[in-house]
Amino acid sequence: MKIVLENAKLYNGKKEDLFIEDGVFANAFDKKDADKTYDLSGKTIFPGLVDMHCHLREPGYEYRETILTGTMSAAKGGYTSVCPMPNTNPVCDNAAVVNGILKKAKEAGYARVYPIGACSKDLDGKLLAEIGLMKEAGIVAVSDDGKPIATAELLRKVMEYSSDFDIPVLNHCEEKTISDGCMNEGTVSTCLGLRGIPTAAEDIMIARDIIMAEYLDIPIHICHVSTKGGVRMVREAKARGVKVTCETCPHYFTLTDDCCETYDSNFKMHPPLRTKEHLEAVIEGIKDGTIDAIATDHAPHHVDEKCVEFQIANNGIVGFETAFALGYTYLVKPGHITIDRLVELMCFNPSKILKLGRGGLEVGDDADLAVFDLENEFVFDKNKMLTKGRNTPYDGFKLYGETYLTIMGGKVTYEKLC
């Protein structure tokens, strides 16, 4: 299969035609020999995006999402590599489940799937999962996502043991004993009569994790940072040379807790939406390099799990199909960051943290790329998503950066029709 992409510009401003042959970027060949030629006038080519934090729900929750629908959704968002968290059923805490996920992913063929294994068996925070055997099967990191690594004892064991296998540890930081709530604690939660989750809950565990990383001199990655204190501590730790990296998600730089005022559970996620002060700190962390990556935390839920009272609604929103456009519209457009920095956040850095070797656009590199329309505004329509989930807070948002074409390993995984 030979593909030619012509008349586009690369994200870094370079104008050149790209040639793809046998799944990799190739030297220029005669365009007449191409099986398929795309005229990408007015569009911009990016390396395929890498999402280091998502939920594909399979095995066990196929009514919410499958590896097939999840990766189709990822492809529509410009992603060519995704890393599903282990909170499936059964939990991804052993090589057999990892193998099952990879088999399904290969059949689906819409994105490279790099599973994240559990830190502890059954995510129960007690006994170590078989991290070495899971690595042999193909995991790229471990996490008890959704369930913070509750004790310092387990954290130490997981970090030490995983480092033997060069496997990064990703932690959802939240001190559960003070997190008995369903939204950010503050004036809005008080006004709505909803129990709050204080920013201190996140900060306390981030502090602990940084202390442990510094003490052990082993890397730690902090998932979805949403607080000013979290950003500050990571910034200070990095300056001291602590091996800490972190990610945030688009909702933490686009939405605030007052969005919960209508008790709409599409604004309910974990960590919760914070106040403007924290949103601005997250943007500052993105600007100055404190925050390494933007992940989606794509978390599809069934309508029956969301169309209920706010308190009992499941946490989380879908994210693949809005992440790039939100990053471009809310970070690049207003001038907070350059487009190159956005590519670092959404491709190079997550690839580097998880050692995936993704993001190359040179001859010989796997032909993973995404083409976006940065010029024209589009209205995001939740009913046109490819994910099974409809739990998005962004329905009707006017955004820039609609996906036009996604290619993974030389295969077209998404193409916008007209």
Binding site: E185, S189, L192, V308, E309
Partner: protein, 309 residues
């Protein structure tokens, strides 16, 4: 004038004018209620359902009597003994009631925002009879009515509310509603029962009970919600009643003859000593009567709005 919205979800959604219209209508309703012949025909041919997911004596009975005095067909269902016990979702339950040509659904629910969640899905008007820790609008309206009736106005009046602020939907509705009518509300309770940012609702957070009640026109005690006390927020009832109760000495710091109020049910000897509960300044029992009058007013005004459309 009338009410602007189909539903009565909270004081947040009401304007000062709407609140005053409810209070003035309640004056008329109180005359009806105390006249000997309580029967009116304002809700004749209409249906009112009370749907209670939490226990209640005053609120449920006063709504039921209010609707019956006004001639409606009324019935009540509760979580136990209905399909809720079989696991039916709130929305399905509400839609089922709605499809029986129900005009008004009065709902109490343990989840904040539950009435806000169902209201847009229903043709019936939804009246919030208490949702979690959010609001209890008809309680606040009857509290305001009591002050309005006794003191002539809320404008410039100083009101103290003491007790378990964190769990109280009564305090949220009162703080918001009384502010809209120009009153100065002070609140106080143990810090462990004080929600973050409560001062941004427009009330003053006092330093202690004495500071809270000083020179007030009305003093309201709140029930310590022992059933919500799954986490120990104070060490013992003995300690609470010593440091946080409205004692006779504390009440003396308020204006002479200040109203002593309590939404009920009261834990005697915890937030109020019985001597205070029964004192001459206490309007606690009259609040109950006013509750029926205010609920008649609310039902009347909501139905008037429905009839217009």
């Amino acid at each position: 004038m009338g009410l602007k919205n189909k539903d009565l979800l909270g004081l947040k959604q009401l304007t000062a004018e709407e609140i005053m219209e409810i209070l003035d209508t309640a004056k008329t309703m109180k005359m009806v209620l105390t006249s000997g012949n309580k029967k009116t025909s304002h809700l004749q041919g209409k249906s009112v359902i009370t749907l209670f997911y939490e226990n209640s004596t005053r609120t449920r009975l006063s709504f039921e009597l209010a609707s019956k005095y006004m001639g409606s067909a009324s019935a009540n269902i509760s979580a136990t003994g209905s399909s809720v016990a079989k696991g039916e979702s709130l929305l399905d339950t509400a839609r089922t009631i709605d499809m029986m040509a129900t005009d008004i659904i009065i709902m109490r629910h343990s989840h904040s925002g539950a009435p806000h969640f169902i209201a847009p899905h229903l043709n019936a008007s939804v009246v919030n009879a208490g949702d979690g820790m959010n609001e209890h609008p008809t309680q606040a309206l009857l509290d305001m009515f009591t002050i309005y009736e006794k003191l002539g106005s809320l404008e410039g009046k100083k009101i103290a509310i003491c007790g378990d602020i964190y769990h109280s939907r009564v305090v949220r509705s009162n703080a918001i509603g009384m502010k809209k009518l120009g009153a100065d509300v002070s609140i106080y309770g143990p810090k462990t029962m004080m929600p973050v940012g409560i001062e941004n609702l427009g009330c003053r957070v006092a330093d202690n009970v004495a500071d809270c009640v000083k020179d007030c026109d009305a003093v309201m005690g709140l029930r310590v919600q022992l059933e919500r006390q799954h986490k120990s927020l104070f060490p013992s009832v003995a300690e609470y009643s010593k440091f946080y109760a409205i004692t006779p000495e504390m009440l003396e710091l308020a204006k002479p003859g200040a109203l002593l109020m309590h939404p009920g049910p009261c834990n005697h000897g915890v937030e109020l000593p019985t001597a205070v509960y029964d004192c001459d300044q206490s309007v606690i029992n009259e609040q109950v009567t006013n509750g029926v009058a205010v609920r008649m007013a609310v039902l009347y005004l909501l139905m008037a709005r429905r009839n217009q459309i």
